[in-house]
């Protein structure tokens, strides 16, 4: 008699079934990133234009029509992915890295803590968008300035998060043991304390990324965003807002992309948090 062994689902299929949000989120992001990377092959130059072509609706020549200057909306959408994604990633990276370093030090060294937390409170007390507008007015409009302007208000929140974890972990036995073993501070922080912060940080990073992309649109609306010549989804939506009824394609294209990416990043974040955080139960 043959042994009938039940078919075992592959590990991948199992993962997909159990964490659909992570998968959908990641796939969407990969797709958009690929489009951004291969922009020069997919689309024409997003910056040059012929005013005679202005406000044309989608056609064979211009897949998503043209804007008020005559620029190709599809090309700007595809190239816009580059900057929007870079803004999101850069802000998340800067905020996470600075916040972690400051938070680690603040959580571990009490003297540092007192000064730094007052500084962080001060930064949090200033409405982030006003701070961003003022920074852009100070340093001029460019992608890097906008990135810095959006990152700064995010740092205090990350700092608090990391600090809280460090505070809860630093007096635990295993850290105590490492310290009494003579482990140097740097290594102590890196190898014994930092790993506890990784899970919440990753989740936080995704939210910061999504929020940054949206904030960039808000800043462009208020006139303190990225330079209008360079396409980003944010400044396309804001810059074309007058044309919602006249030429809706100029807004819908970047708008849908923006919404998709923000959705994807949030799904990824939610999924990762569900996976990484052992405290969340699976229902009653």
């Amino acid at each position: 008699m043959e042994l009938i062994t039940p078919a075992r689902p592959s590990a991948t299929a199992d993962f997909i079934r159990r964490h659909p949000t992570i998968v959908i989120g990641a796939l969407l992001l990969i797709l958009i990133t690929l489009a951004a990377v291969f922009a020069p092959w997919i689309a024409r130059d997003p910056i040059t234009f012929e005013p005679i072509n202005r406000l044309k609706s989608p056609s064979a020549a211009f897949w998503l029509g043209t804007d008020a200057l005559g620029r190709d909306v599809f090309a700007r959408m595809v190239y816009g992915a580059r900057i929007s994604l870079i803004v999101g990633l850069a802000v998340a990276l800067i905020a996470i890295v600075s916040g972690s370093v400051i938070g680690l030090l603040a959580g571990y060294f009490n003297a540092f803590d007192a000064i730094v937390m007052r500084l962080m409170d001060g930064i949090m007390a200033i409405p982030s968008i006003l701070l961003a507008i003022a920074l852009v007015a100070l340093l001029g409009s460019s992608v890097s300035v906008v990135i810095i302007a959006i990152s700064i208000p995010e740092v205090p929140r990350v700092t608090r998060l990391v600090r809280a974890v460090v505070l809860s972990v630093r007096d635990l036995p295993f850290v105590e043991a490492a310290r009494s073993n003579g482990t140097r501070i740097g290594k102590l922080l890196r190898r014994h304390i930092l790993p506890s912060t990784v899970a919440p940080l990753i989740v936080q990073a995704t939210y910061i990324c999504a929020s940054a992309i949206l904030t960039e649109a808000g800043l462009s609306f208020l006139g303190a965003g990225t330079p209008p010549e360079i396409p980003t989804w944010g400044n396309m939506i804001a810059g074309n807002r007058l044309y919602l009824q006249i030429a809706p394609w100029t807004i819908f294209a970047p708008g849908i992309c923006l919404a998709l990416v923000v959705l994807a990043v949030n799904l990824l974040g939610d999924g990762l948090r569900d996976r990484l955080d052992p405290r969340i139960s699976r229902g009653i």
């Binding site: 234009f49 005013p51 005679i52 200057l69 007015a137 409009s141 460019s142 330079p227 007058l242 009824q245």
Partner: protein, 538 residues
């Protein structure tokens, strides 16, 4: 920056049906019968129309203050507060007697002393005024109603200077208020005009309220331009400051305001609705100028300037910034096409009708001849004002197409205004190119517009320097009669084009959108919006 003029010419849009606006379920405040709400093009944040040259302050001034003289619909100076004018035989003494019934808003009568003080404060800040006062010997007060201006030599433009509507306008204020240093703001607001400023309801950035002045005695002539009888038929005029054009358009459609001063031309099709009239009140419109920095390379070289002049396409710019060809035109004059001085002598050099490829080829050649080394040129790009934003993007592309290495410095208009004042080299905080636009009426006078001066470092931003241009401007001021002035203007235009004083980017008209089913009677006046003569009938 924005100087608007008004003259009547209806741009074809939907005829005004009498259809009213539906009343929504939840209480939307209906305007009281004799009240008009307008959305102006900018905020009124400065209440001293002499201290600043901003247009909004002039709008405010036209409501609550009055002038000695004012231009009529044909741009001729007419008496307004002045009753009798007497000019001596040698043309050096002007005697002015105020007409009866003039009172300040606090009830006291207007005196000659007030007028002299106001004129003296105004001339410090005004180009035409200071040009005049260089030739003034004295301004004696004869009695309560009479004063004189005594000149060192005859000056034909005296009355025109006091009648003009380009800013700052010569508004009359009480002597103790006019005694304020011209470089400090006035703190009290008392005028003698057809409206009173309701200071208690003033919310800078949000709303400005005016009410009818019942003690105002209008002249008997019909209103024409800023002259004639200013008969007020409304009780209140409210300016609602709205930063968002889309919101303002929606508000007009919903009947929450009656007048939208400067709707972006691209959204006019959405305002094609029953009851809404689109009308161009300013026939002369606006003129754009690209200012080149004459102090530093490459534009200190006339060949490089000519290259830029040929490269910059008025058609491209107007199409991109304005769009609808009904509202723009190219123009080869420095003094506003369509105006009395709008001569286009010498404009063949601009090659306005030639194909761009030909112009670009010539430009490239000129640029090479100038010895341009490829160093980046800094373009100040104001992003928060639609026309400026679009124009500079086109200019950047135009210049790149002929070989300039362009660097766009994108900031808000405030930062541009600051940086353009810097005379340092571009890489030390200075600049090479910036853009602004001015009203057609102001631009049409070689004297009134500061930008026309070519006095080098003392001139307007860009600092062009040309003795020939300056000589001709003075010649124009002294020329007697229209044909003589036109002839000088022609010479001047040719010289300015050859020298490349700056690069004009074309001319456009800005229509207003208003509820023709509720208000009528808006007069065309350059640089200000009049609310006298306007009545609300629904």
């Amino acid at each position: 920056m924005t100087y608007s003029r008004r003259s009547v010419l209806t741009a074809g849009m939907a005829a005004a049906a009498v259809a009213g606006v539906g009343t929504p379920l939840l209480g939307r405040a209906q305007a009281k019968p004799r009240e008009v709400r307008m959305v102006p093009h900018a905020d009124l944040n400065i209440l001293d129309p002499i201290w600043t040259t901003q247009n909004m302050a002039a709008y405010h001034g036209a409501m609550m203050y009055d002038t000695l003289f004012g231009i009529d619909a044909n741009f001729n100076a007419q008496p307004q507060m002045v009753g009798k004018t007497d000019i001596s035989a040698d043309k050096k003494t002007y005697t002015f007697e105020l007409r009866p019934g003039l009172k300040w808003h606090d009830g006291t009568p207007v005196t000659a002393r007030d007028c002299v003080a106001s004129i003296r404060r105004w001339q410090v800040k005004d180009g035409a005024g200071s040009h005049l006062f260089q030739r003034v010997a004295d301004t004696p007060v004869v009695d309560d109603k009479t004063f004189r201006i005594v000149l060192k030599e005859p000056y034909g433009l005296l009355i025109d200077a006091m009648a003009k509507t380009s800013t700052p306008v010569c508004f009359m204020m009480k002597a103790e208020i006019a005694a304020t240093d011209p470089n400090t703001q006035i703190s009290k607001h008392i005028g003698s005009g057809p409206f009173r400023f309701v200071e208690a309801e003033y919310r800078p950035g949000s709303r400005v309220v005016y009410e009818r002045n019942p003690d105002y005695v209008p002249r008997s002539e019909p209103a024409s331009g800023i002259s004639g009888g200013k008969v007020v038929k409304l009780d209140r005029v409210i300016w609602e400051i709205m930063p968002d054009a889309q919101t303002a358009a929606s508000a007009l459609l919903a009947g929450e305001v009656e007048f939208f001063e400067q709707p972006p031309i691209d959204i006019l099709p959405t305002l094609n609705a029953p009851g809404i009239k689109i009308e161009v009140f300013s026939k002369l419109g606006n003129i754009g100028q690209v200012r080149l920095n004459h102090l530093h390379a490459p534009f200190n070289n006339v060949l490089a300037r000519r290259a830029a002049q040929l490269a910059i396409s008025q058609d491209d710019i107007q199409r991109a910034a304005i769009g609808n060809p009904e509202f723009w035109r190219t123009c080869g004059s420095n003094f506003t096409c369509g105006s009395a001085m709008g001569v286009e002598d010498g404009s063949e050099a601009l090659m306005l009708k030639a194909p761009m490829a030909e112009r670009q080829a010539k430009a490239r050649e000129l640029l090479k001849q100038s010895g341009y080394d490829g160093k980046p040129i800094v373009l100040l790009h104001a992003t928060n004002i639609h026309v400026m934003n679009q124009t500079m993007l086109v200019v950047a592309q135009n210049l790149r197409q002929v070989g300039f290495n362009v660097q766009l410095a994108s900031t808000d208009w405030g930062a541009v205004v600051t940086r353009r004042a810097n005379q340092n080299p571009p890489d030390q905080g200075g600049w090479n190119v910036f853009y602004t636009y001015s009203g057609g009426n102001a631009t049409s006078s070689p004297i009134a517009l500061s930008a026309h001066a070519a006095t080098g470092r003392k001139a307007w931003f860009g600092w062009p320097e040309s003795a020939a241009i300056e000589e001709m401007r003075t010649e124009w001021a002294y020329a007697q009669g229209l044909p003589a002035r036109k002839a000088v203007a022609g010479k001047l235009n040719k010289t300015m084009v050859e020298y490349v004083h700056d690069v004009k980017t074309g001319q456009w008209t800005q229509p207003a959108a208003y509820r023709g089913d509720r208000i009528r009677g808006i007069l065309p006046i350059p640089e200000v919006i009049p609310w006298w003569n306007v009545e609300r009938y629904a």
